[in-house]
Subunit: 185 residues, 2 copies
């Protein structure tokens, strides 16, 4: 199973009436706070690794993401454990890890058929729309992408508005030039 | 509050009848498995730090112990969080930490008045007796130590039998010369 995602900038006040019109069902609301850490002994940006504490509705999880396993898919090793957030931050600091970035996200989740639609408000970045579909295999990838862009048309967004930069990278000011559709919503 | 501890070698078959005679009360049994980790970027033996996963009756805890804060007491910073053991080992390995030592302990805990008596069986090391008392302040330290050695007399052990080396250090073969009372039980 492969998650196919497309993210665009979109003011939520314009998005909501369209969601309602298409009969999207609200699934829930999440408050995520992601703290990303830098290691004292190697540069995660260069090694394509990540160490993160995600706090979701009061529950914290420590996640390590390894380098992508190949150049095509987004597959990577991922290990995670529930933790006590405050103590884990203290342990990581004591070991020489430092906070590299903080992503605070308020996410409203909707479903429309087999598509998941997320209204993301990111602290210091603004409002986004992320649409997601789960493809069964590589073959369905293009079909799924096409389906997502077809949906996005209803919100006035096209392929050119797709943002490939992660929220963390946007916050860290990296690769901002990749974000072409800043004012398209 | 200060924990005052004294540890000696002692065959448990000789200890049990004495415990019974003195009316010690059995409080419980613990199976501890401690994995100590070495860091990729500094030598914990030199920095006087420790990173450990303790698995106690199926529950795992990650603990960081900082350097001793002064030369007199055993006080040190300590942070700990419950974790999933397998995932945390994978995360630490992926970050370059390696297993430095494993201490497997079977501990039976008894109380005799205000003294806690532990019968420790350590894999690859053998059987030990650890007696412990909680002193309210530094002033009571010497009184508490004297009380512990008075109790140990009943088991045929004296000050010369006291082992200051930790189980991990003993397993790693460090400071074995400090262990003077090896055959005293």
């Amino acid at each position: 199973m492969i998650e196919v995602e497309v993210k665009v900038r979109a003011g939520h006040s314009k998005v909501r009436p369209i969601l309602k019109k298409m009969g999207a069902v609200k699934l829930g609301v999440e408050r995520q706070s992601d703290i990303y850490f830098a290691a004292p002994h190697r540069d995660f940006a260069k090694t394509d690794e990540a160490l993160r504490i995600r706090s979701l509705d009061g529950q914290a999880v420590l996640t390590y993401k390894g380098p992508k396993l190949d150049g095509v898919s987004k597959s990577r090793e991922e290990f995670e454990t529930p933790v006590d957030e405050a103590a884990t931050i203290q342990i990581l600091h004591a070991l020489g890890f430092s906070e590299a970035g903080l992503v605070r996200k308020h996410r409203e989740i909707f479903s429309a058929g087999d598509i998941i639609i997320c209204l993301d408000s990111i602290e210091s970045l603004g409002e986004f729309l992320e649409v997601e579909i789960v493809a069964d295999n590589e073959k369905d990838l293009e079909t799924s992408r096409a389906k997502l862009f077809e949906l996005l048309k209803q919100f006035g967004a096209g392929e050119k508005d797709s943002i490939r930069t992660s929220y963390l990278e946007m916050i860290l000011g990296k690769s901002n030039h990749q974000e072409t559709g800043k004012n398209s919503n």
